[in-house]
Each structure stands twice: as structure tokens, then as C-alpha cells.
């Protein structure tokens, strides 16, 4: 009764005071539009999990405390020397990037605070207040022309390595390698390399059997390759600069300092920002500025390719493309729905009014979202699509009824009152049921699911409110206009047409009469689709939800392919270097882990350092005593030839072992030195060197003498420098290393763990996460978060589906007041869910967190069809099945089609995850419509037949 009173009152306001109502609506819309404009979008997985989940807390802590956790990676591809040159040029330019876009805003704020300080000073205000404002001013000043990057990493920390390299080498390796360092003269060096190689790589199978060892072997072979090429140049008396000779020595001692791929065609620069990934504005500016620098510099380097990836670029790309995609798909859905309504109603004014109302409702819904949750996540970003499909239904009901009443000759106030009383009640009940179903998702602990429930529930109520407050006003204005036209022209204006879908009525009547066939057919189809539903499998590859066309995502694959390392890694925080070392070792022992990165790489334990010291001292003593020979004698030439022959044999043996062992990187590197045995011909640079030496013996000796004069002293000095035996402490590490592995307070250390292979292939993600979490439960990062999300969604999703079903059932029971009718209304919904999953399976799709989200939502959406049909059947009475389905069938077909259009619009989304969500609900809505129109007639036929 009270509901009718309110609705009557509202109808009266609309009919009598449309301008006032319009003013109220406009005011609310302006406020809500302002709020909606401030909504931010986050596509981060961590924002979908419970905020208090330890893994999320840890993740956010890492992002906050370690600027290095948010990185912008520049990937450059091309010829080795040119990509190195490119890197040298771009690095300082990146460091110069500043954000000046906010300067004006900050200056204004500073000015305001300075005025406040002045006022406080003249009024002898409190010192603390003045100091507080001053601090705020200082903070604001730091934002003016804010420098966006603190460091660009693309080279090993050579300065530190020059002093401490040997202390960082494991004792066993040091013993194996020590011979190499002991004599800087060419002949002895090559001989020592041979001795060492026979011990290290031939004598010990383990030496290339792990990823770390394989990388070490490739780096060492790379140094040899470079030395051989330089020696050939020297032997043929080609000019070699001192820098080239020094670089050859450095490559033997330290490896290539640049972050180069195995095939030397790709280089990565990691720009470490001064902001975190949570600072959206800086993130956008930084990415766009660096992209501009890259594009600009590429013009000077034709033939090179470069692009951006890393968490910062990926977040930027996802923000830009998701907003663009949402904008275009929403517009597409709006236009498609408008056309559908215009065709169905055979008029254009009412559909346009419905769309305007819907847009206003969406603005209110988004404004409410801002006030309720503040930002959008990967799920709630789709709220506009969900609300679009459902919200339009309210307008359809109101417009249909009002135009019918007007066509029946009622006055505007009368027509409005009967519309509110007849359709308003149904619309309100339907909206509340669906909103309640959505709000049930709030039982979930997962933030993504909880917010989805809250945002869609609140959004739906906002659209309901807009429909009740705004649409009637528009209808009143239109009706008045129509009246004026009628009065002016003296002829009628078409209001509405009856376009009931009689075929639906005829079909339902037939199905009702042949209820045995209908029920049996429904059982057979449902059994098949239920069986299909249980065959569906979960898609373990989260990347299938990401848009492949985004440059940042494509480059992630490039990094994985070229560097054989995944950019998706896990990490953990510890409070001491010792713990970092201990964990790192445990992680490295896992077969699912490729490499680990932590501070202990540059800070061995005291025991380790003590054990290494005598070996280093031995090397230092020997190398100090070694004499540099300025003349390379012909006898030495002969001996060098033999050593080079020995070197060739050693590398051939390494190559064969690597080939048999499936160690492709080592095999490929060996091919660059001794050629490819499967492709006879040139390619053996050692043979080339021998030929050059033999072709002119004396010229070769002279060339080597010149080479040795520069090489040997530099090599000796370098090795002597590396023999520092003072204990390395945390304080000795340079800032560049400390920043990478420690927070600014230097009381927390990060251990990063990289998976051995592609996380998304063969279920590696499950084994990797199980392994690393077996070492410590305090893991976080993309793999752990992704799996946690699956677990939480699986658990909460089941809970939400069951609870929503129970609540919807109870609401129906209250509404119908009869258990039987509420059960009948639930049957098409329950079967519709199975049909939906079954069809998903049959269409070759897999379950993802995105389409799984559609399951609890479809309960709220799909129930409407059954409710409307049962309501109408009850009010029409027995034997009216044809009327029920001709009239209400039309309504549910139209509302289903509009909802399907809204969800279907996501097929065109650049985000496959959203397309999966759209497809699931598209199929779900269609399934619920079909189960309602095919199964309910059979049940009704059975009941009526029984009664007869």
C-alpha cells in the first residue's frame, strides 16, 4: 500500500512539476558527472584480491618501498654495435625526463599555502602550523618539474666488479678458474684457458647442466670468441685501438657488460622510476615521454627496432586501450540497442528518450561508484556494459505502458499514474531482485568480486532511480508537445503500436499441449549440456586474457624468447642479508626456478669470503710476479698455434656435449667459434686465426707483440685490482646495487625468483608457485597473486552462486507467495546456467576468471524471464498460455536481446578477458531466454493438464 502511495505521489510530481523534476535531475547529474570523471581504473591483479590478504599487503609493500619493483623497460633490437650505441644515447635522455604538466597546479597550491603562512605570521599564529605548511610547500615543490627516473640499468656495475669480482666467485669455481688469471701474456693465457676448460667443462658434467652454469659458459665462450677475433686482427696487422684491446680483456674477465640477449641482437634498458606504479599520472606521462624519446632517436638509427615494456608501460597501455575499448564498445552497444528498439517499436522518439535516460542513469551509477569504492578494477570497468543491458529494460516497460495509456485516451497525469502503478511496481520489484542478487557478491573476500557486486547493485539502483525520476519527465514534455501539435494541426499523432510476437504465443501453446515431448526434449538437451558443462576446463594461461596486440605485451614475449627469462616473477621480502642469501640458495635448488636475484649476489657471507681469500691471495701473488713480455717470439708462435689447436678441440668437445645434452645456448655459441658441424665450410674463427698466423709468420708475431704490449699490462692490472681481499660489507656496495635489492631505509631486502620457462605452458605456474611457497609462505608477485586469485575466486564464486540462488529463491517465494511457482521460475534459471557453461564448452572456450564472474551475475539477470512469465501466467489464469507468451514473451525477448547486445558489444573489445566475459553473459542470457520459452510451456502444460 505504502509503495502505491509513493508511486502515485511521484507520478503526480512528474505530471504537474516537470521543470522542477528536470532541475533536480540536472543538478544530481552534474554532481555525479563530476564524481564519475574522477574515477580511476586499475588493471592490476592485486586489486582483485582481498586488501588484507598477506600476499597483497606484501605486494603493495614492495611497490611502495622498492621503486625498482615498478620498471619501464626499453627493448632495442638490431645489430650489436648499433644497439649498444643506441643504449648509450637514450639512457641520459631518459634520466632527463621531467613532468611539468602539473606545475601550474602545484604553484597555485604553494601560493595558497604561502598566503596562509603570511597570515599566520601577521596574526602571530602557532609555529607548528607554520612549520606544517612549510613542509607541505617543500613536498609540493618536489612535484614541480619532477624528475621521473632515478636510474637506467643496462650495464653490469663494472666499477664495483673491477675491485671485487674474484670475491664474488664461488670457491670451487675460483679454484677451477684461477689459472686463467695468473699470467697475462698471450701464450700462457690461452694455455691456461685450455687447462681450465678441460677441468671445468670437460671434466665436470655439472658445469653446463644448470641454467646458471649454462649462462656462465656462454659468457665465458663469448669472451674467448671476442679475443680470437681481436687476435686475428692483430695477426694480420690490422689496426686495433687500445680501447678495443682493453675491452677484449674486460670481456674475458667480466663478460659483456651490456644487458644483451644470447644472440646479441636485443638489448634491454631498465629505467627505474622515482614514482611507483600506483602514481597513475606520473606513470602515464613517463611512458609517453619515453616513447617519444624512443621514436625520436629511432629516426637516427634506421633498421633498429625499439619499444617499451615492463610493469609501467604495461599499466599505461592497459589504461589507454581499456578506456578506448570500453568507450567504443559502449557506444556500439548504445547504437545497436537504439536501432533494435526503433525497429521493435517502429518509432524513434521513445527509444531516444530511453537511451538518454540510460546515459543519465549510467552517469549516476558511475558517480555512485566513485563515492562507494573510489576506483574501477578489471571487473567493475565492465559495469557500464552490465548496466546498459539491464537498465534499458526499465525504460522499455515505462515507455510501453505510458504510450499505451495515452493512446487509450487518458490524460497526462492519469496515464502517468497508471504507468507508475502498473509498470512501476514490476520494474521496482525486478530491479530490487537483480540488485539483491548482485549485492550478494559482497560476501566474497575477494575485492574484485565484492566490488563487482557493490558497483553493479548500486549502479542498477541508480539507473532505476534515474528511470523513475527522469524518464517520466521526458515523457511528460513529449506528451505536452504532442498535445500542442494535435491542437495546432487538429490531427492525431501516433503514440504506440501493438507489436506483440504472436509466433512466440503459438509456439508456447504447441509446446504446452505436447508437454511430454517438451519435457522429454528438455531433459535430453539439458542432460547433454550438463554433461558438456562438466567437461569444461580452466584456462591456466592468464595471458589469454591480455590483449596480444599491445606493444608492451608483445615485447614481453620477445624478452622471454631472446633472454629465456620470464618478466613475470615472484618475490619476497626479508629483513637481513643473511636471510636473503639463505632463501636465494633454497630457491636456486628448485628445478622450476631459472635464476634468483638478490643482494647476496654481490655480498657473499663472511665464511664464503674467508674461504675465497687464500685463493685470491694466491692469484694476486702469482699475477704480481708474472712478467710482461713485450716481444712475441717465433717459438711462442709455434706454441700458440698448438694451444689454439687445443682450444679448438676443447670447444668442439664442449659443443658435442652441449648438443647431446640439449644445451642449445652453449651449442649455438660454440658454432660461432668452431662453426656448425652440420654445415661444412667457413665459420671456424680459430681455423681462420691459424691460417692468418701461418700465412705470414713474422707479421703475426709482430702483430701479437703489439697486441700483448697493450693487453698484458691492462690484464695484469685488472686482475690485480680484482684481487681485493678486504671483506665486502653492505656499506661497500654502491647505491646502484643497494637500490636494486634494498629499500631506502636499507632494512628490507628483496629476493626475486624467475621461473624456469614459460609460466603459462604445461602448468609450470602451479609447480613454480608450489615450489617457491614451499620455501617461504611470504611470496608475492604475479604468479602467486594469479593463483591466489584463482583459489579465492573458486571458493567465493561457489559460495556466491549458492547464496545468490538461495536469496533469489526466497525473494521469489515472498513475491509469489507460493513455493510451487517460485520453483517453476527457478527451473529455467538453473538449467540456463548449465546450458551457458555447456555451450561455452561446445564453442571451444575454457573457463577464465573473467567468464567465471558471469556465473553469479547471470542468476540476477536470468531470473527476470521466468519471473515475468510466471507473474503473467498467474494473472491471466488457466488456458492463456498463448496470450502470456505473445505479450510477455515479446517483452522478455526484447529485454534479452538488448542485454545480449550490451554483452555482445564486448566481442569487439581489444581485451580478450572482457570479450570472454561478454561472450559468457551473451550465451547465458540467450540460454535463460530459451530455457524459459521452451521449458516453462511444458511445465505449465503439464500442470494445467493435470488440473483438468
Amino acid at each position: 500500500m505504502w509503495r502505491e502511495k509513493i508511486l502515485k505521489k511521484l507520478a503526480g510530481w512528474h505530471a504537474l512539476h516537470p521543470w522542477r523534476m528536470l532541475a533536480v535531475v540536472l543538478l544530481v547529474t552534474i554532481i555525479m558527472a563530476g564524481a564519475a570523471g574522477q574515477l580511476k581504473l586499475s588493471m592490476r591483479t592485486s586489486d582483485l584480491l582481498p586488501e588484507k590478504d598477506p600476499m597483497v599487503v606484501q605486494y603493495n609493500k614492495v611497490l611502495k618501498e622498492f621503486k625498482t619493483a615498478s620498471s619501464l623497460i626499453v627493448v632495442v633490437q638490431g645489430e650489436e654495435s648499433r644497439i649498444k650505441e643506441f643504449a648509450e644515447k637514450i639512457a641520459p635522455k631518459i634520466l632527463d625526463v621531467v613532468d611539468s604538466s602539473q606545475n601550474k597546479k602545484w604553484r597555485e597550491e604553494i601560493e595558497k599555502l604561502e598566503i596562509k603562512i603570511e597570515k599566520l605570521k601577521t596574526r602571530n599564529g602557532r609555529e607548528e602550523d607554520i612549520e606544517k605548511y612549510q613542509r607541505e610547500i617543500d613536498d609540493m615543490r618536489s612535484h614541480i618539474d619532477k624528475v621521473l627516473f632515478q636510474r637506467v640499468d643496462y650495464k653490469a656495475p663494472l666499477d664495483f666488479l673491477r675491485e671485487n669480482m674474484l670475491m664474488l666467485v664461488k670457491e670451487d669455481d675460483l679454484k677451477n678458474l684461477k689459472d686463467i688469471f695468473t699470467n697475462p701474456n698471450l701464450l700462457e693465457l690461452v694455455r691456461n684457458i685450455n687447462d681450465s676448460m678441460e677441468k671445468e667443462y670437460i671434466g665436470d658434467q655439472e658445469s653446463i647442466s644448470t641454467r646458471e652454469k649454462e649462462d656462465g659458459a656462454v659468457s665465458f665462450l663469448d669472451g674467448i670468441q671476442n679475443l680470437v677475433l681481436k687476435l686475428r686482427k692483430a695477426a694480420s696487422q690490422q689496426e686495433l685501438t687500445k680501447e678495443e684491446i682493453k675491452a677484449a680483456a674486460d670481456k674475458i674477465l667480466f663478460g659483456d657488460p651490456y644487458a644483451l640477449s644470447y644472440d646479441k641482437t636485443t638489448l634491454i634498458l631498465t629505467a627505474v622510476p622515482t614514482f611507483t606504479i600506483m602514481d597513475r599520472d606520473y606513470l602515464m606521462v613517463a611512458t609517453e615521454e619515453v616513447q617519444a624519446i624512443v621514436d625520436d632517436l629511432l629516426q637516427d638509427y634506421p633498421g633498429l627496432q625499439a619499444g617499451l615494456t615492463g610493469s609501467v608501460a604495461r599499466e599505461h597501455d592497459e589504461q589507454v586501450y581499456s578506456q578506448r575499448s570500453l568507450g567504443s564498445t559502449t557506444l556500439f552497444a548504445l547504437i545497436a540497442i537504439l536501432i533494435l528498439l526503433m525497429v521493435s517499436f517502429r518509432m524513434w522518439v521513445a527509444p531516444v528518450l530511453a537511451i538518454i535516460t540510460l546515459v543519465v542513469g549510467l552517469i549516476w551509477g558511475m558517480g555512485t561508484t566513485f563515492f562507494v569504492v573510489g576506483s574501477l578494477n578489471m571487473f567493475t570497468a565492465l559495469m557500464s556494459v552490465v548496466l546498459l543491458g539491464l537498465g534499458i529494460d526499465f525504460s522499455i516497460h515505462i515507455i510501453s505502458n505510458f504510450t499505451e495509456r495515452r493512446a487509450a485516451g487518458e490524460s497526462i497525469p492519469q496515464a502517468m499514474e497508471s504507468t507508475f502503478l502498473k509498470s512501476g511496481k514490476g520494474v521496482v520489484t525486478g530491479a530490487l531482485t537483480t540488485a539483491c542478487a548482485f549485492l550478494t557478491l559482497m560476501v566474497s573476500q575477494a575485492r574484485g568480486m565484492r566490488e563487482m557486486g557493490l558497483v553493479t547493485g548500486a549502479g542498477l539502483l541508480s539507473i532505476l532511480l534515474a528511470t523513475m525520476l527522469f524518464l517520466p519527465t521526458l515523457l511528460v514534455f513529449r506528451a505536452r508537445l504532442v498535445e500542442k501539435k494535435i491542437n495546432k494541426r487538429g490531427k492525431g499523432v501516433r503514440e504506440a503500436k501493438d507489436i506483440s510476437f504472436r509466433f512466440l504465443g503459438r509456439m508456447a501453446e504447441w509446446l504446452g499441449k505436447h508437454y511430454v515431448f517438451t519435457i522429454a526434449g528438455s531433459v535430453v538437451i539439458s542432460a547433454f549440456l550438463i554433461w558438456s558443462a562438466f567437461q569444461i576446463r580452466f584456462d591456466n594461461n592468464f595471458m589469454n586474457m591480455e590483449p596480444e596486440s599491445l606493444a608492451s605485451i608483445e615485447l614481453m614475449d620477445t624478452v622471454l624468447e631472446k633472454f629465456d627469462i620470464s618478466t613475470e616473477n615472484d618475490f619476497t621480502l626479508v629483513d637481513s642479508v643473511e636471510k636473503s642469501r639463505e632463501l636465494s640458495k633454497k630457491f636456486r635448488d628448485l628445478s622450476t626456478v631459472a635464476v634468483t636475484e638478490d643482494i647476496s649476489r654481490y655480498l657473499p657471507s663472511l665464511e664464503e669470503q674467508r674461504a675465497r681469500t687464500p685463493v685470491i691471495e694466491e692469484i694476486r701473488d702469482i699475477v704480481r710476479e708474472s712478467e710482461i713480455q713485450n716481444i712475441f717470439s717465433p717459438q711462442e708462435m709455434e706454441m700458440l698455434k698448438r694451444e689454439i689447436g687445443r682450444l679448438e678441440m676443447n670447444i668442439i668437445e664442449i659443443q658435442d656435449m652441449a648438443f647431446l645434452g640439449g644445451r642449445d645456448k652453449v651449442d649455438n655459441k660454440c658454432k660461432m667459434i668452431v662453426g656448425d658441424p652440420d654445415v661444412p665450410g667457413p665459420g671456424n674463427i680459430l681455423r681462420d686465426l691459424l691460417q692468418t698466423m701461418e700465412s705470414d709468420f713474422s707479421a703475426g708475431a709482430e702483430g701479437f707483440s703489439l697486441f700483448q704490449r697493450d693487453f698484458a699490462p691492462y690484464f695484469k692490472d685488472s686482475v690485480t685490482g680484482m684481487c681485493r681481499t678486504e671483506t665486502i660489507t653492505l656499506a661497500d656496495l654502491p647505491e646502484s646495487i643497494l637500490d636494486r635489492y634494498s629499500n631506502t631505509s636499507r632494512n628490507l631486502f628483496i629476493v626475486t625468483v624467475y621461473p624456469a620457462g614459460n609460466l603459462w605452458e604445461g602448468g609450470l605456474i602451479y609447480r613454480f608457485v608450489e615450489d617457491v611457497e614451499g620455501v617461504t609462505e611470504e611470496m608475492t608477485g604475479m604468479p602467486s597473486l594469479g593463483l591466489a586469485l584463482l583459489r579465492v575466486f573458486g571458493r567465493d564464486g561457489r559460495k556466491a552462486v549458492l547464496l545468490t540462488l538461495v536469496i533469489v529463491f526466497l525473494l521469489l517465494w515472498i513475491d509469489f507467495g507460493k513455493l510451487r511457482d517460485s520453483v517453476i521460475a527457478m527451473i529455467p534459471l538453473a538449467l540456463g546456467i548449465f546450458w551457458m557453461v555447456g555451450v561455452l564448452y561446445l564453442s571451444g572456450q575454457m573457463l577464465t576468471i573473467m567468464n567465471m564472474m558471469g556465473l553469479p551475475l547471470i542468476i540476477g539477470i536470468g531470473i527476470d524471464d521466468g519471473v515475468h512469465i510466471i507473474h503473467r501466467w498467474r494473472s491471466e489464469g488457466k488456458g492463456k498460455i498463448r496470450t502470456v507468451f505473445s505479450s510477455t514473451g515479446k517483452a522478455i525477448l526484447l529485454t534479452s536481446l538488448t542485454t545480449m547486445l550490451a554483452f555482445g558489444s564486448q566481442f569487439f573489445s581489444v581485451f580478450p578477458g572482457w570479450a570472454q566475459f561478454g561472450a559468457a553473459l551473451f550465451i547465458g542470457v540467450a540460454a535463460c531466454f530459451l530455457t524459459t520459452t521452451l521449458i516453462i510451456p511444458g511445465i505449465i502444460g503439464f500442470i494445467e493438464r493435470k488440473k483438468r
Binding site: I652, D656, F659, K665, R767
Partner: protein
């Protein structure tokens, strides 16, 4: 009453005859070891491995084994680039030598290499040439019989003896009752005692020279999610193999 008593006694006697002499775990593993490690054997094998960059690579090699697997010699036939490369394993793979035909040199691998992967496969040297390790290094306990790969099998749990230095702390074997072929072996991890690290599955069992022989062998590595397939192209048992064949000296021949 008397009749029932006689029947009960007869039943007990019959039970003893039928079940009392049932095979123990030790007996079963001894019999399985005979089929798994015949005294002498020659085989031509095809082995397919997965390389570190995810590609498949196939090798064909001849292998000879004597003293129930204590001495093993493998000589590669294909692909061309490793033709004639040979591996000699002595003392149950404690000593391993490799011959490189491209350089003509023989090199000895370190002792601990036996626990490493053999030539990039999912077999370790130890898996390939551990002789009587099933008997010497493990104690066998018989579990409830099970059907496996379609065969009625004895199921055994092998636990490593404390003094053994072999890699696997535990193995579960399913041995075909009919011919004592270990059709499936689960190798458990040293670091994670409850986790199966590798699974060996044998199939296509044929009787050759009176010895039941699985012509297809797959080793699945559960950690790396890789597998190595082996196929017996030819096999001969009970040959007379000269001990000289298994020396470092003759490796080059």
C-alpha cells in the same frame, strides 16, 4: 562337529599351501631385477629428448651391457654430427668416460656426474647403469597388488638403505605378475619426499630370446614437465661380450 573340524584343518592347510608361500617383496624385486638387468645385452635404441630451448632431438645409439648392467657402453649412430661418440660407464656408473670422434680424445667425467642428466635426457647416468641397485641399495616392501597399465601387478615400495649414495630415497614399482617386468616406476624426490620426481613407463612388452622385454620406455620428469622417449629398435640377450670391450682403451674403436 568332527566334520566341520576336519574341514577347518583342511582349509588351513590349503591356505598355507596357496598363500603362505606367497612372494615377498625381496623375492619379487630379485626376479624383476633379472628381467631389468639381464647378464648381457645388446640393444639399438632410439632416444628423443627435449632441449633447453624446447625443441625435440632424436638420437640412435647402440648399447652393450654386461655383469647385469654393471658395465655399459653406448655408441651413437645418429645424428651424423655425433656419430661414433661413445660413453663408457663402469662400476655401476661411478666411472664415466666419453669419447669424442671429432677430436679423437677420451675424457673422464667426474664421479658425481652419475646423478646428472644423461645427455640432456630425463634419465640420469644412474638410471641407465646402476646394475643391481634395486637389490643392493634398497629394501623392498610389498604393498597391495594393483592393476597398472592394464596388467595385474605386484606393487613394491623400495626404500633406500642408509649407507647408499643413490639419488632416490624411495621408489614405487608396479611389476607385471606374469613376467616380472617393472611396467611403471615412480622415483621420489630427495628434497620433497612425498613428491614423485620422475615416472618411468614401459610398454609394448615382447618376449625376446626368452626374456620379456619392453620395447618402449618413457621417462616423465614431473619437475621439468619434460619427457624422454626410448624405443628399442633391436635387442639381443645372452651374448658373449668380451670384458675388453668395456675399457677406456677400446672406447675409440
Amino acid at each position: 562337529m568332527k566334520k566341520y573340524l576336519i574341514f577347518a584343518i583342511l582349509f588351513l592347510i590349503l591356505s598355507y599351501v596357496l598363500f603362505g608361500q606367497e612372494l615377498t617383496g625381496k623375492k619379487i624385486i630379485e626376479k624383476a631385477n633379472e628381467t631389468f638387468n639381464p647378464d648381457t645385452v645388446y640393444a639399438r635404441m632410439k632416444m628423443t629428448i627435449t632441449t633447453s630451448s624446447g625443441k625435440e632431438r632424436t638420437f640412435v645409439y647402440d648399447s652393450w651391457s654386461t655383469n647385469s648392467g654393471e658395465k655399459n657402453l653406448m655408441r651413437y649412430l645418429e645424428p651424423r654430427r655425433v656419430k661414433d661418440q661413445a660413453i663408457l660407464m663402469l662400476n655401476n656408473a661411478n666411472d664415466i668416460w666419453v669419447y669424442f670422434p671429432r677430436t679423437g680424445r677420451v675424457r673422464k667425467l667426474a664421479t658425481h656426474a652419475k646423478k646428472q642428466k644423461m645427455e640432456g635426457s630425463d634419465f640420469s647416468y644412474e638410471d641407465m647403469g646402476s646394475g643391481d641397485a634395486f637389490i643392493d641399495d634398497y629394501t623392498a616392501e610389498r604393498l597391495d597388488d594393483e592393476k597398472m597399465e592394464g596388467y595385474d601387478c605386484y606393487k613394491l615400495e623400495l626404500t633406500r638403505k642408509p649407507e647408499s649414495d643413490l639419488s632416490y630415497p624411495k621408489m614405487i614399482l608396479w611389476i607385471i605378475k606374469e613376467n616380472f617386468v617393472p611396467i611403471v616406476i615412480d622415483y621420489y624426490s630427495e628434497n620433497y619426499p612425498d613428491r614423485v620426481e620422475k615416472r618411468l613407463v614401459q610398454s609394448d612388452v615382447q618376449v625376446i630370446d626368452g626374456i620379456p622385454t619392453a620395447k618402449k620406455i618413457v621417462m616423465q620428469n614431473k619437475n621439468d614437465n619434460t619427457q624422454t622417449r626410448m624405443e628399442l629398435l633391436d635387442v639381443k640377450y645372452n651374448l658373449t661380450l668380451d670384458d675388453d670391450m668395456f675399457t677406456e682403451r677400446t672406447l675409440k674403436k
